[in-house]
């Protein structure tokens, strides 16, 4: 056949046939809403465009049960999963994930090796961090009498009058309580590891308990500030940006922000592990992360990505250098081991009023 005598043309056809035959598809599992959209626009569509590999994006709600059952059945349908850090630790311990070779990650544009470019703690044995979200203190600078400058000010209701908003969870609250009681940030989890340490944190929370409104969702936290119900509240930093874009006059206290990150992981026993690794490498390049940050106000785990972001925007991200000075890295492993126990205690503590109750059993 004449066609077979034309090698260049044949090569072109083969190139075109590869994606068209749908031999290379990748299933990426992530969260929903704005977050996955930022991923789509940041690197998933560019990945498809550059490699010709179609990416199917599925939504999930966290946990490791699905991954566990797929891996154990050798029927892995999820090639790459965007996991919460403490789930990634658990899954890695259970040997459900493929170890990642960090040396295969591309360096920063200036040649800085990936190991130096990524934030400390974001390169896991079984995963690669992607974005950082932080819990911070926010306040309305138009309304507040005296703006807080340190996390200790949040716990000082005499010097900084007004009600406070806190998330109905022991996470972050216990860390901040210890910081306010003089514990250095690097010792927080060590202190919390003892019963005395936990008691100490609860004692500090006791001091402000009568002034606290407890919120469950980020939306509630913002509402507390919007309505002037509280003078300061803990809140996820992304929510503050949303509110500011709507015209609210909110400011963030970055002191002792507590940050957590999401992690890309590859389940074991999958059939497209190499392709999955290629995706993760692409998704965590300097350009990909910087591109994603245009659409979501969270911090990239690569320092070089930050450099590509407008300085005005950069200083509003959790991973900006000046915001990281006193930052606490939420210890995902510690919380994975202690969350249930402390949530039970926290809920019970919450039910105990500080004031003498107005009503009583009768």
């Amino acid at each position: 056949m004449s066609i077979l005598r034309r090698p260049t043309l044949l090569f072109l056809i083969v190139l075109l046939l590869v994606p068209a035959a749908a031999a290379d598809r990748l299933t990426v599992v992530s969260w929903g809403g704005a977050y996955v959209k930022s991923q789509m626009l940041g690197f998933i569509l560019p990945f498809e465009e550059e490699t010709g590999i179609a990416v199917d994006v599925l939504e999930y709600t966290g946990g490791i049960d699905d991954v566990r059952s797929q891996v154990r059945a050798w029927n892995v349908r999820w090639d790459v999963v965007d996991m919460e850090l403490f789930d990634a630790h658990r899954a890695c311990r259970e040997n459900l994930l493929v170890p990642f070779d960090h040396d295969t990650l591309p360096p920063a544009p200036d040649g800085t090796p990936a190991r130096e470019d990524f934030l400390e703690g974001s390169l896991l044995r079984c995963g690669i961090g992607n974005v950082v979200a932080a819990t911070v203190v926010a306040y309305d600078h138009e309304r507040i009498e005296r703006a807080p400058e340190r996390i200790e000010d949040f716990f000082d209701v005499q010097g900084f009058p007004g009600r406070r908003g806190l998330r109905r969870s022991p996470k972050v609250n216990l860390e901040w309580a210890l910081i306010a009681d003089g514990v250095p940030r690097e010792d927080v989890y060590q202190v919390l590891d003892t019963e005395e340490g936990v008691d100490r944190a609860f004692r500090v929370l006791n001091r402000i308990k009568p002034w606290v409104d407890w919120w469950r969702s980020g939306e509630e936290a913002v509402r507390l500030l919007e309505t002037g119900r509280v003078s300061m509240t803990s809140v996820f930093n992304g929510r503050v940006f949303d509110a500011v874009q709507r015209g609210e006059t909110f400011s963030i206290l970055w002191d002792h922000q507590v940050w957590f990150m999401d992690v890309w992981v590859i389940p074991r026993n999958g059939r497209r592990q190499e392709l999955a690794a290629e995706f993760v490498r692409f998704a965590t390049t300097t350009d990909s992360l910087a591109r994603q940050m245009r659409y979501i106000p969270y911090g990239p785990v690569r320092r070089s990505s930050l450099e590509q972001i407008d300085p005005e925007i950069r200083r509003q991200l959790p991973t900006a250098e000046e915001n990281m000075v006193t930052a606490i890295e939420g210890d995902a492993e510690w919380w994975a081991a202690n969350l249930d126990r402390l949530t039970e205690r926290f809920e019970r503590w919450l039910e105990r009023p500080v004031m003498v109750p107005r009503d009583r059993p009768n």
């Binding site: 004449s2 046939l17 626009l41 569509l45 465009e49 209701v157 002034w211 996820f236 929510r239 059993p361």
Partner: protein, 441 residues
């Protein structure tokens, strides 16, 4: 789905390419031409993909994206995985049922030092109460009811329907607590204080009430047609009311109540509620068919600062009955708990309560409140000694269990020796140790 359509379009392009004729002698030109075609087709593909993307919910490719940072308005609110999980957990909390059924089962153990049998037996124990409660709110309709079974009587304590207005104010119709003085109770203990036995605290009657809050101000207005059971001769009632018994044939009708309170430091850890209350009623005498009158006024302070609670109340009341000749106007007859007793027709009430809520670390107990409650009735007519109650004790809560441990001292007080709320001259302090243990659900 969009990617599937894209693959289909790719295959169509390939099919076009495969069936196209290629002259062997102009291979280079052909390839150039093909490349041009490919580029044109790729552009066409992009246009088609954008149209598909516009039809689907999937976002379009990057060429259409602007460089504007944080396009959160386009994207919706920014929520990371970590936060999404918390939100999912938060929304996973099931909505409570709009109607709640509750109740309590309680037992008492008491030791009366002034009663020989009690001393001999070193106290007595027994069933105190079984009660059922129904509470709920469906849309803006509120329902609340409580029925009590005790060894002496089965009685309704409260039962009302309410409506919540858009401004959060509430109107109640039915049997509910009269707004007077310290609310909801003028004590912290199980045995309660003198105002309760005089009918000026935790008193439930049948009527209509309106309650509203305006910032630190709270207003309660109420009108009660009569006592809650519609029968002033009935003694089996939760709290004392004027009853028709013996030569005393009065009953309270058409009572108006008003109570205004202002809270200083509201929603801080140190709140001080200052309040004024007043009530005015007719006293209908069944013998004379004449109408006497009744009024009462009170001022109170309810200060909750940190773990401390200080309650102060001063009240003045007057019953001016239209009794037939020969019946004393110095007292009115009250009835409750299946019995009746007299109250000085004019008097003053004083309350001084102090309580402290103990800080508990990770203990078995959820709450330990210790208190001293003092209350006194100063009788303006009849010449009797003042009636006094002083209770020192603690209330302890642990899960569904709640206990009151009270040491009660009383002088010239109803239910203690010969004590009376009208006249009486018992000058001895008598005591009673009372433990009330309840299971509440």
């Amino acid at each position: 789905m969009a990617s599937g359509r894209r693959c289909g379009l790719g295959m169509a392009v390939l099919a076009l390419l495969l069936v196209a004729p290629f002259p062997a002698e102009a291979e280079a030109d052909e390839i150039a031409r093909l490349q041009q075609q490919l580029e044109a087709l790729q552009q066409r593909l992009e246009i088609l993909e954008r149209r598909l993307a516009a039809q689907d919910s999937r976002p379009v490719r990057t060429p259409e994206l602007t460089e504007t940072p944080f396009e959160t308005e386009l994207l919706g609110e920014a929520v990371t995985g970590a936060e999404r999980l918390e939100e999912a957990r938060a929304t996973a909390v099931p909505e409570p049922s709009p109607i709640r059924i509750g109740g309590a089962l309680r037992f008492n153990h008491f030791f009366r030092e002034d009663v020989r049998d009690s001393r001999t037996r070193r106290g007595d124990s027994g069933f105190d109460l079984f009660r059922l409660n129904v509470d709920g709110e469906i849309r803006d309709i509120i329902l609340s009811a409580e029925y009590r079974f005790t060894p002496d009587m089965d009685v309704i304590r409260s039962g009302w329907l309410g409506y919540r207005f858009a401004d959060d104010s509430v109107v109640k119709v039915g049997i509910h607590r009269a707004p007077f003085g310290l609310l909801p109770f003028a004590s912290h203990n199980y045995w309660d204080g003198v105002p309760f036995y005089a009918g000026f605290s935790d008193n439930h009657d049948l009527g209509i009430a309106y309650e509203r809050s305006d910032g630190a101000w709270e207003t309660r207005l109420a009108f009660y047609k009569n006592e809650e059971l519609g029968s002033a001769g009935t003694l089996a009632r939760y709290a004392p009311d004027v009853v028709r018994q013996g030569d005393q044939q009065n009953e309270e009708i058409n009572r108006f109540n008003a109570r205004v309170a202002y809270t200083l430091g509201q929603d801080t850890g140190c709140e001080h509620e200052f309040g004024l209350s007043g009530q005015r009623a007719d006293l209908l005498n069944a013998t004379t068919n004449g109408r006497g009158s009744h009024w009462a006024a009170a001022g109170h302070l309810d200060s909750r600062c940190g773990r401390w609670n200080l309650q102060l109340q001063g009240a003045r009341y007057v019953y001016d009955p239209d009794n037939p000749p020969g019946v004393s106007n110095d007292s009115v007859r009250l009835g409750a708990f299946g019995t009746s007793f007299d109250l000085a027709a004019k008097g003053k009430l004083a309350v001084v309560n102090l309580a402290y809520n103990f800080e508990l670390s990770d203990s078995w107990f959820d709450q330990v409140v210790c208190y001293n409650n003092y209350s006194r009735l100063i009788k303006d007519v009849g010449g009797g000694r003042d009636s006094e109650l002083n209770t020192v004790g603690c209330s302890v809560g642990a899960g569904p269990l709640y206990a009151y441990l009270d040491l009660i001292f009383a002088r010239n007080m109803l239910f203690f020796g010969e004590g009376s709320l009208a006249g009486g001259d018992d000058d001895r302090w008598r005591s009673r140790f009372n433990i009330n243990l309840g299971y509440y659900w």
